[in-house]
Symmetry: D2
Subunit: 406 residues, 4 copies
């Protein structure tokens, strides 16, 4: 299967959290596609009814992507792939040499923001400005050493603790710059990466629930520099289904009395979420989706995430939905999704990178709203106002954007 | 809650299978709405975001509906409601007097078409023409006795055996009329009701999987008489969810390797489907939906329907979906819907009656495609060509039709 | 159905938490049995294969039970039954007069032990001795006013916070008495009720996870006074199934890699468990069962209990079990129990009362080990040593005890 | 882990259906145990609390087993293992050489008894006596060529169509011998293998639902020859859980109103059961279990088995149980077992072979009742009378038998 060669040149993808399961799967997936050992299953913009449109809209081919990135663990990606256990043995053997060549750059660690994931592979210097300088230097070296014209930065790191995005420090670019100079402790790694990427002219996407580009200061920077940003929190398993089901229940006017969601997660992300502070961030972005979709507040909407090791990366979601239908009669709907976290997430990462790059080439700076279909908490241009969560509407918006550039 | 009074005058709804659970629930629901004892939960066109549009489009109010109909069992509807056990005791007490006044007219029975539902309350005469005359007389008496300007006919009877809709006898109106005269055994009760209704100027909807209006001869008649027809097979529980989920899976390019659906059904419809011939009709309409939605053929699509008495009308559906995602990795999705058959179906019947009536007043004859959202096997104007099964597209089509008439 | 009249005389059952859902259901159940409006479904010792044995062993008939008890809410039981919504309307109407006559005595409240259940119907006095005196007076009045020879006390109150049963204050009777005199804050209401009951010659059972009779001091008292005690924590829904399934898995040598249990509970008990301290007690007694049954430690045994209101008393449990079988291959077992908390618990309460009474009449003091079948954390005579958790072995032990007294 | 060497000498296991998934897994498992590449997980008599007893009772070690057998497909077992996909790649590589050396002998085919499994590797001769002679010759060659003192025969072939075990032809040995001579068409392959095995002095077990040793003629033969026989229909997944759960529900006196069981099966056994005649045999043995365990007839006990390919050998069972508890209130229990058919079955086959061999050496002929724990329809010595289905009672019986010989 060939989805076309796309525009000339390769596209660098610099990942925050390069050693994690999602990033490793994304990089391995591109290698397997290059080797002709994987199909396009799971890649939304490679489906028969959209692939040609995507190509005409100027998206680079999947095989044009080149991965590098930061991590707090120094293992090369062949080792990381082994730890995460996402690939099957045949796949692992096929791509191990290519993955072994990818060794993460030292990451920006801050235990105050992510307690449960501590590594020994951190940037040496002190202070926010030193961290930004290190990120900038890594990006420059990536371009130079690999001969890349363009690099996109994507945050796939573990979830940070909850941060108030409306704090004064994030209110505008001037306040934020001053806070950087003062090493303000309210600024965590995710925001530093976003700031450094955009300053270096790299589009930035936040696939995690952490606060990063979704504050006025960073959006202002992105707009001023003409750099697109997207986020946040990849919509993969349970929430993706939630937005699909809730839209259907609304069409039939079935009233949702309660929605109880449990997640079993055994990979590194699950361990990070075992920290109540990180969990709070995650549940925040999951929570508002339902009310927005249904048009009313579901008081009994419960979301649990449990770190449960026997599954490793093979996530499981169990949802129970209590419904009231005609004549006040009650019904129940239960959904059990035995999924694979990284297998669902990695292809979305590839699509986001391709779309952000094309948007940048189109000269679009600021929030890339057309990417809402891939996020649990889609950013809007103004960081306020109503958010579209229905998957089919989001999909239509992405296709319209593709068509406009085709 | 008041959804508006709608156009002057009441609307008769003559139901084939008036004593069944769905029909009884629909009639009881209207009585409860009239008495202010039920909310609009479960009524798709009474939801806050569409109710005003529906009113402006000329739909009559729910409380303008008046029920009557045919059944092979003579019980009045208060008795039927007791048998089906759909209402709770308080609701039953409230509407029993009104329901007791509804006594089904004798039905057209034909054991060759529906073996498991045999009643003793059948029309006396012999032959197709006699049956049509009886139906016509019942409709005329309904209008006259209740002072109704307009009557809609809806088929809610048990599923008939499979019939070939492309048989010569259904090919055009002339052939069909000749077959009527010859008492052709290929013509079953459902088609006779459709023919009689349209001839009498009543819009006709087929909420069952039986072959009825979905043959060229009847569509030709409907077009010639300027009478709208709709169908077929109400999309209530499992299939409704299927069309919602499949659209979401397609957006994410998750390949469906197999879809296994089991239904537990303990009401009169379940008993009818205990006959393999009737079951075949049902599974037919369920089957094609999935392939159309996904854009490819799912070879391992299995649909079982089991008659299981402990639940009565409280249907249960269990679905297992095998998926292949990125890198060929496999996932499973399981859905368990503890629903109520009649509670899901009855409100759709009310909406269909209201829309057909408005379409008739707008002068629209032939297939009412805007009602596709309520059917498993939506009829198209030409009875061929691609069918839209995605709930959100179907919903958009209905809203567009409403807006055009508002 | 008649299970025999049993020994002469009625048996008083004084319940701690009389206004709760379980107690109300137990009292209502006895009234419905008396009125011939309920069958013996759900009563383990009324099953055809054991009822005669139970009668010969001297158990009083269910209809010989008379209920009274303490609660922090003053509502009579007809009101409580309405609040809890356990009875259907017909049942409620039938027993409302009898239930209305049961008005709880003021309870012993201590917000330090159970934060989320606060009532305004508490005993006035101060200090442990005053509380004991009030309980004793209530029991005496109950006997006198209702002409009861024998009274059993059963704790059905909401779960108290976790307490260390090996604290010095509970080590022996002398230490405990001294602590009572000193109003030691380590002593909570559950222990006070146990002490007062036994002192007054009433057998005592603890159906809750709270620490009560399961400390050396109280067992010593029970033995000295010749009064049987039993506990703790009724084995009703999820844990009952766990003990059944785990025994089966062990027979087949299927290794349990992980067991993830979630509970949805919307009644007053659920609200109490919304307090992390009370939850800790509950999870404690649930936790050890599995390891004991399997013969090895399951490190990934997770038990969640969520307060989820839409269900009221209709509890739901969802369990996922990860298994390794032959050749190291992995399997999963999922169990979804849509149960009713009080409907499962109340009949066990009736059986416990009947057995404790018979044990007392047989002259057995101390721990009634034969009642282990009804508890999540069965007490052993020495409060130490191995505990039998397999339901079928526990059942055999109870039958052997019955046979010994028949 | 070492469970002891057992008695001197190796034990031959001649399997009917040697190329099937269960047989291949059993043979591969013994090879992996020999190579130290598999643990004893899933082997009931290797569990810590019973292994020593089993050894003292004279059971041979698992590694003493040597496999051979008949099949209608000529593939060697390395090829069969690849087709069935039960082993993981590492396991397959390790045992492929050993498995490649096992080439099935031509089988006895009879399309009248098993339509959906047709092979081209059948015994040439015509008539029952020729078939028996071929089986006998194969067994003799097996002993001679491999130097085996003792050989056990186990039927693991696909399910045959339903046969009436009380037909005159099976009534006693004389009638049966006459029918053999007359090539009576009522005699299918399973019975021929049983007859030939016993005649050759080999213990025989029927792990399938087919009629084989469970007729008076064959039991008479087994008794006369002093050869033990066992069966029938291995109790692996759903039915094993059923016997565990039903016993628990009975203890709590929860009344089973209905039990709906669905199975998804994608291996060769599933294809065989796609034939209604074979399915009827299977459902027969599944059906009676429940009533026997509960002590009453469950009218709404439905068992469906569906051939669903996406899973291959990874079977799935979904059960729904409708319960009535105290005060007539209703509950539901749902069990979803994602299991592996051969992984559950193969270890039971090893245990059955070891126990039959020990029984034979103890001089026990006729029905080996102690093996009931491994069968859905345990044979009793008289082929009539009450059958024990409760797993824990069956387990106790097996342990008692082991202890008696230890």
């Amino acid at each position: 299967m060939d989805v076309g060669t796309g525009p000339a040149g390769r596209l660098g993808v610099a990942v925050v959290g390069m050693g994690g399961a999602v990033a490793t799967t994304a990089a391995a997936g591109v290698e397997l596609l290059r080797a002709g050992l994987a199909s396009h299953a799971g890649l939304p913009l490679a489906a028969p009814d959209v692939r040609e449109l995507a190509q005409r809209a100027g998206l680079v081919d999947y095989t044009a992507l080149e991965f590098a990135g930061w991590d707090l663990t120094a293992d090369d990606l062949a080792k990381a792939a082994e730890v995460h256990g996402v690939l099957d043995p045949v796949q692992h053997r096929a791509v191990a040499p290519a993955l072994a060549a990818i060794r993460p750059w030292p990451g920006i660690g801050n235990p105050d923001f992510c307690r449960n994931v501590v590594g020994d592979h951190a940037v040496g210097g002190h202070g926010h400005r030193a961290a930004i300088a290190a990120i900038t230097a890594d990006l420059a070296a990536f371009r130079r050493d690999r001969g890349l014209e363009r690099v996109v930065v994507i945050n796939l790191a573990s979830t940070e603790r909850r941060v108030d995005p409306s704090a004064p420090v994030f209110a505008d670019l001037a306040a934020f710059e001053a806070a950087l100079d003062a090493d303000d402790p309210a600024i965590g790694p995710a925001v530093l990466y976003a700031y450094a990427a955009i300053t270096a002219g790299s589009p930035y996407a936040n696939f995690t629930p952490s606060v990063a580009a979704d504050v006025p200061a960073i959006v202002q920077l992105a707009r001023e520099r003409g750099v697109p940003v997207a986020g946040k929190d990849g919509k993969t398993g349970q929430t993706m289904l939630k937005t699909v089901l809730a839209a259907g229940l609304r069409q039939r006017a079935l009233h949702v009395d309660g929605w109880f969601s449990t997640n079993l997660l055994g990979n590194r992300d699950g361990r990070a979420l075992d920290d109540p502070d990180s969990l709070a961030s995650k549940i925040d972005t999951k929570g508002s989706v339902l009310d927005d979709l249904l048009g009313y507040h579901v008081e009994d909407h419960v979301v649990n995430i449990a770190y449960y090791r026997p599954r490793g990366d093979a996530k499981e979601a169990w949802d129970n939905i209590d419904l009231t239908g005609f004549l006040g009669q009650r019904m129940q709907l239960k959904v059990n999704f035995l999924c694979r976290d990284s297998i669902l997430a990695a292809p979305l990462v590839l699509e986001i990178a391709r779309v952000l790059d094309a948007a940048h080439r189109r000269g679009e700076g600021g929030v890339a709203e057309q990417l809402g279909v891939f996020f649990k908490a889609p950013m809007t241009a103004t960081l306020s106002g109503p958010v579209e969560h229905a998957l089919h509407h989001q999909d239509a918006a992405l296709r319209a954007w593709l068509a406009a550039g085709a």
